[in-house]
Amino acid sequence: MKILVPVKRVVDYNVKIKVKSDNSGVDLENVKMAMNPFDEIAVEEAVRLKEKKLCDEITAISIGSAKSEETLRTALAIGVDKGILVETEEEVQPLEVAKILKEVVKKNNPDLVLMGKQAIDDDSNQTGQMLAALLGWPQGTFASKLEINGKKINVTREIDGGLETLGMELPAIITTDLRLNEPRYASLPNIMKAKQKPVEKITPNDLNVEIKQRLKTLKVTEPPKKTPGIKVDSVQELISKLHEVEKVI
């Protein structure tokens, strides 16, 4: 089985972002970047499947600036075999990401695409479902457990009321939720080894995908600040505030 894992370079999840003063976007200068955490879970799952001998080859793909190669190297250090960098300086929105991935899938013929359910920068939560639609493949979104048996796969999904299990056949798209696994840290020898692994560089043009910004950013603002609250000294005082002042209980 071959697995394709798309990975995105995003602002590290610990960073408190700042909106640019001209309201054109979020300030990404000198900000720590990292692999999108949900994609890390996807990489980890793919590597575990390879360790269980259920998978022969894992390819990671990243779309973005030349710096996205760092994100691919992180994936390679965790245990991915090779990388594809689709290099572009333009903003690529989910539908076009899905179109690029579709072309790569058609060339590389993976049996499974394992990807994060959402990127923590734009929080769109779309690309996996879109890719599944474009390929006409089944989709197992928000996965917290995978059971693979030959060509059959059972996906346990985190849904609003609890858990749901769907059965589907490969090829399929799986998007990962938080509790699918806990990603490992890459060891130093593996980080060194990752530097030697192959990364193919192409452009959206090579795949005949036109990048369109269908969604235009008009303005990015900071959410309204809350006025600072007060500390109360006792439960009685809290109850009286909530009951008599705020009238919420």
């Binding site: 858990l163 299990t165 007060i230």
Partner: protein, 314 residues
């Protein structure tokens, strides 16, 4: 052209999120239609037809729609799409799963999680876990949208009587099969619809200790939630999670107990009207968004809170 709303339901009851989504649709256009997909769900369509401002309801009643498999639902919505300028669904796991599939089949972008409607093509949505708000204009002819339900009131059922049209389709895409579900049953209100939410974090130390929160929840008719840390630690099931990737809540009162207040958690609750934080660490970031804070040991504070609530209720 009209706006179409996908109704979220479980074949028995309509999810409140559907009524919030109808309100968002009405802000886009006066003409709002709805589609109910499910099995033995005519009762759902009847109720929706009585909703304020709904002009027409489509119903597709067939076993293949029972479990809301995205691969089966997307084609039928795409077929109807030519009559609509916008298609909306709640930004719940139901809408998040299905809508991008529809958008891609229509070759249009999706606008996820809208918090407000500025005009028929411009919306505001949160990015970076709600640490920034993006005003975005869609240049596509058709807009596929998921709605952050806490930002829109629920439309009422007021005894209207719109037309119900049956769609006879039963093509199973044959891609995904429902195997089973494990739904958590609770007599408490749903997290996303509750007026009061009390949530626990890592500070609760165990799942058993959540009974302290449940006792208070029952007195306040509140829902119980949790931070990611509490879910990851196995204290409570995944559907308790409030935050960037869990549920977004905006109740009248949110009580955060033993929750430090990571930005990912704040993303899911900072729009609550009144926020109370109980935490032993006075430096915890949760206090920065709290209207009222108590610094102290939650295992002493919670029983006291429960006792004091009895006094005001009597």
């Amino acid at each position: 052209m009209s706006v179409l709303v996908l109704i979220e339901h479980n074949n028995q009851n309509i999810k409140v999120s559907s009524f919030n989504t109808i309100t968002a649709a009405k802000k886009i256009d006066k003409s709002v239609h709805a589609i109910v997909l499910g099995e033995n769900c005519s009762k759902i369509a009847d109720q929706i037809s009585k909703c304020e401002g709904i002009e027409e309801v489509f119903i597709a009643d067939n076993a293949i729609y029972k479990n809301h498999i995205a691969e089966n639902i997307a084609p039928i919505v795409v077929e109807l799409a030519s009559n609509y300028s916008h298609i909306l669904a709640p930004s719940s796991t139901f809408g998040k799963n299905i809508m991008p599939r529809i958008a891609a089949l229509l070759d249009v972008a999706q606008i996820s999680d809208i918090m407000s409607v500025e005009s028929s093509d411009t919306f505001i949505r949160p990015i970076y876990a709600g640490n920034a708000n993006l005003k975005v204009k869609s240049t596509d002819k058709k807009k596929i949208i998921t709605v952050r339900t806490t930002n829109f009131e629920a439309t009422k059922i007021n005894g209207g009587n719109s037309k119900i049209t049956k769609i006879n389709k039963n093509e199973d895409a044959g891609l995904s099969k429902f195997v089973k579900n494990e739904l958590n049953k609770s007599d408490r209100p749903e997290l996303t619809a509750a007026g009061i939410v009390i949530s626990g974090g890592r500070g609760m130390l165990s799942g058993k200790n959540f009974s302290l929160l449940e006792e208070i929840a029952d007195k306040l008719k509140a829902a119980v939630g949790a931070s990611r840390a509490a879910v990851d630690a196995g204290f409570v099931p995944n559907d308790y999670q409030v935050g960037q990737t869990g549920k977004v809540v905006a109740p009248e009162l949110y009580i955060a107990v033993g929750i430090s207040g990571a930005i990912q958690h704040l993303a899911g609750m900072k729009d609550s009207k009144i926020i109370v934080a109980i935490n032993k660490d006075e430096e915890a970031p949760i206090f920065q968004v709290a209207d009222y804070g108590i610094v102290g040991d939650l295992f002493k504070i919670l029983p006291e809170l429960s006792k004091e609530l009895d006094k005001i209720k009597s």
